[in-house]
């Protein structure tokens, strides 16, 4: 109980620290929303007027306190540029980015865990070498390039799937929505699997070399049986920790890949907002993403404890 409270406390402190960093860094960037919005043809007076309306002429500390006060009350504020409510803007994009990153994550786990284990067990065989080589390649190739390639082959040549975009009616037409997410999901999943296969493989290799596994084999268990019974649970501990990070990565991957597929999700919104220095939107997005990552880490910690009794024991001893 005390441990859980400590964790939540640490989480909140991390969030506040993250928000301070984001706030300060964004304001260190040259240029501001007033200039980016008004553009060529407007006068300095008009710029100053807009700045005072937006409150960006106030000292940074004042701005931060005001913003934090709003956020605590659940109000994410209004976009500097479009004057739309930030909460609405973000809610509008969630039905694209959330399914995209979650599906990519699940797909990546389903592919990489079996592949990683096989690659470890057959580490010297042709299958193991092939999996390693392909995953190496997958790590080296940038994710957007994979996306471009898939579009070229499957959308433009074969015409099996849309090249980009999301149905205007959203999820009202589930088939169309799913079709438009297939290529982006596969793209992000490929990039993630490449990394995860390597983790699973090395975690499995670690346990394969352990004494207890050799003992199990000497007791007459087959290679796979021994691994399944004694190995996987142990191999899972480091893998679960990486899964947490990878779920966050899948969100970031979605952010990168949305641009390639012209998907109006959080990533597109983030890019737009940074370019136009739309600080309330950027702050809300970065804060949200940070929160997700921190919460994932907390869950991973708890998950590891559930899998590995030694971690629980350590805590009691301490």
């Amino acid at each position: 109980m005390r441990a859980a409270l400590l964790r939540i406390g640490a989480l909140l402190i991390s969030l506040v620290l993250a928000s301070v960093v984001v706030f300060v860094v964004l304001r260190l960037l040259p240029g501001d929303a007033a200039g980016a919005t008004l553009g060529v043809g407007t006068t300095t007076d008009q710029l100053d007027q807009l700045r005072s309306e937006l409150g960006t002429d106030q000292p940074v500390v004042t701005q931060y306190v005001q913003w934090l006060g709003q956020v605590v009350r659940g109000d994410l504020g209004t976009s500097f540029v479009s004057r739309l409510a930030v909460a609405d803007l973000i809610t509008q994009k969630l039905p694209i980015t959330v399914p995209l990153s979650l599906s990519a994550f699940v797909l990546a786990v389903l592919v990489s865990v079996p592949l990683g284990v096989i690659a470890a067990v057959h580490r010297r065989g042709p299958v193991g070498v092939a999996v390693s080589a392909v995953s190496q390649l997958g790590v080296a190739v940038p994710v957007f390039w994979v996306g471009v390639l898939l579009v070229l082959v499957l959308a433009l040549q074969a015409r099996w799937l849309p090249a980009g975009g999301f149905p205007r009616t959203g999820w009202d037409d589930p088939a169309a929505a799913v079709r438009s997410l297939v290529l982006p999901v596969v793209t992000v999943a490929i990039a993630m699997s490449a990394v995860m296969v390597r983790y699973v493989r090395s975690a499995t290799l670690d346990v394969l070399d352990q004494d207890y596994l050799r003992t199990a084999r000497s007791l007459g268990y087959g290679r796979w049986h021994a691994l399944a019974r004694h190995g996987l649970r142990n191999a899972a501990v480091p893998v679960v920790s990486i899964l947490g990070i990878e779920l966050a990565t899948s969100l970031l991957g979605a952010v990168v890949i949305e641009n390639v597929f012209a998907l109006p999700g959080l990533g597109t919104l983030l890019l737009d907002s940074v370019t136009s220095r739309d600080l309330p939107v950027v702050q809300a997005l970065v804060l949200g993403l940070t929160a997700v990552v921190l919460i994932m880490n907390a869950l991973v910690d708890l998950g590891q404890r559930a899998i590995d009794p030694r971690l629980r024991a350590k805590e009691v001893a301490a």
Partner: protein, 508 residues
């Protein structure tokens, strides 16, 4: 009516033909309709989907230049007393006609009868007075405010008549009024109810699309299609993919010839080349040495092989220019050869100005175009002993550093507005060109008693800034559109901010 174009390739000729065809419009497409019942007959119930990279930033009125809103909604959803039509001419719109007093200080506009807003309420003079007053009011952050400040007062004479009192005569007034769209009295935001155009605004989903639909109660000629959706893209590859796979009917502007290869020689698509008003400029900070010296600016301008730059960037499309004026502005004269490429003359001028070992920084927003320009610029200038230091920055930084703080030596920038040669009469503008004679001419031109005199004075301005190389104008962007070949009726040239869609048809 189009002026000279610099296309030399046979492709250019082919394009001119297709352009003419597209202009002729209606009923004569090459007809590649998918499951066409009667090819050639326009489908009035068609919804046209248009791809663009220029998204509105917001629906609040009078904020900046709002070019995304103008492109999608001016003339289509929102109308002014006047409009600039697709040829660049000022035509009456919500004002049926107007009278100008003899001293040129009073304009009386007679409103078009039977105009209703999209919620059905009639347009009155009060709505016009409000819309104009708001654009020039103390709260207005419109980029056009300074142009409109000549208006001292707007008054409703009666329900159907509006009077504008000016502080001085203004030849440009009816042109500038085209950008002041009229909404309902008291409205500060664009909504589905407060336009008067052939289309009603339906929705804007930020980052994705904006939809407009035909308005049944329109006072003028109804639109030829049922509605239009503008889809917005940040990535031009994604934009062209959408066109290739049939998700779009038309792309408003292609930003490089590389993208065109996939549409050329493809009977399913039509490529049109028209003229734009987008001038690519290498602007100097004229208020600072050595750019304050006319000879240095002229030398730098002569050192640049603009033909080579244009062909590297646009591969035969587009046009070399020698001043800020595009051929569609009334005061255009061709000055491309005034400071033609001449590295020897450039070196001589630099020597005469006593400038040696010149090293210049260039602030630019990196993209395919600016990178290509910069590469050639660097080589050209190295040939005359000048070193360029590139300094990549982003949009927002450009507005701060260059536009507001004037903290730069030179910068690469595209300027899209028509008739923006007037900025050379503002010494506080970012490039800081300060020539009292030019300022006097510009002031006199707007107050000139006749349009001919206005044109004459602005032509002098045009020639003077060209001769003095106030900036290095590199070339005029071509306006290249790609459409499905069963889609016709769209404007080929882009000489105003709006993209008029009411004549676009798709064959059934």
């Amino acid at each position: 009516m189009r002026t000279r174009r610099s296309r030399r390739a046979p492709l250019g000729a082919a394009l001119a033909v297709t352009a003419a065809l597209a202009l002729a419009a209606c009923g004569t497409g090459s007809g590649s309709g998918d499951d066409s019942a009667a090819p050639g007959s326009p489908d009035a119930s068609a919804e046209i989907v248009i791809g663009s990279t220029n998204e509105p930033t917001g629906l609040v009125r009078n904020v900046g230049g709002s070019s995304g809103v103008s492109q999608t909604m001016t003339r289509n959803v929102y109308e002014g007393l006047t409009s600039v039509d697709v040829d660049g001419e000022v035509v009456p719109t919500l004002a049926e006609s107007w009278d100008v007093s003899e001293d040129g200080l009073t304009y009386t506009f007679h409103l078009q009868p039977d105009v209703t807003f999209h919620d059905g309420t009639p347009l009155t003079a009060d709505d016009v007075v409000w819309s104009i007053s708001e654009a020039i009011g103390p709260e207005s952050k419109s980029a056009r405010k300074s142009d409109l400040l000549v208006i001292q007062q707007a008054t409703a004479v009666d329900d159907a008549t509006v009077q504008l009192d000016l502080s001085r005569p203004s030849q440009g007034l009816t042109f500038y009024l085209a950008s002041v769209t009229i909404v309902r009295d008291g409205d500060t935001e664009l909504t589905s109810d407060n336009g008067t155009g052939p289309y009603r605004f339906v929705e804007w989903v930020q980052g994705d699309h904006l939809t407009i639909e035909q308005y049944d109660g329109y006072w003028g000629e109804p639109a030829q299609n049922a509605g239009v959706t503008f889809r917005f893209f940040q990535d031009t590859t994604a934009l062209n993919n959408a066109l290739l796979t049939g998700d779009l009917d038309l792309v408003i502007a292609e930003d490089s010839p590389d993208q065109l290869v996939q549409f050329e020689d493809n009977p399913d698509f039509t490529i049109t080349e028209g003229t734009s008003t987008t001038k690519q400029i290498w602007a100097f900070n004229d208020r600072e040495a050595p750019f304050s010296d006319v000879r240095v600016r002229q030398a730098l301008y002569k050192a640049i092989d603009r033909e080579a730059i244009l062909s590297a960037v646009w591969d035969g499309y587009g046009q070399v220019i020698g001043s800020m004026v595009p051929p569609t502005d009334p005061w255009f004269v061709d000055q491309a050869d005034v400071h033609a490429y001449d590295p020897d003359a450039a070196e001589a001028l630099l020597a005469e100005a006593g400038v040696t070992d010149l090293s210049i920084s260039v602030d630019y927003i990196p993209d395919g175009t600016t990178e290509a320009i910069l590469a050639l610029l660097t080589k050209n200038l190295a040939d005359v002993g000048v070193t360029l230091t590139p300094n990549p920055i982003d949009d927002a930084t450009w507005y701060q550093k260059v536009y507001t703080d004037h903290d730069f030596q030179t910068t690469l920038m595209g300027h899209v507005n028509p008739r923006d040669v007037l900025w050379y009469a503002n010494p506080d503008f970012y490039w800081g060109y300060d020539n009292p004679q030019v300022q006097e001419w510009v002031t006199a031109a707007d107050q000139a008693p006749t349009a001919e005199e206005q044109v004459e004075l602005l032509t002098q301005v045009n020639e003077t800034i060209g001769e003095e190389a106030a900036s290095a104008w590199l070339y005029l962007d071509p306006q290249i559109r790609v459409a499905r070949s069963d889609v016709t009726g769209f404007p080929v040239d882009q000489v105003t901010e709006s993209f008029y869609v009411a004549d676009i048809v798709r064959e059934s």
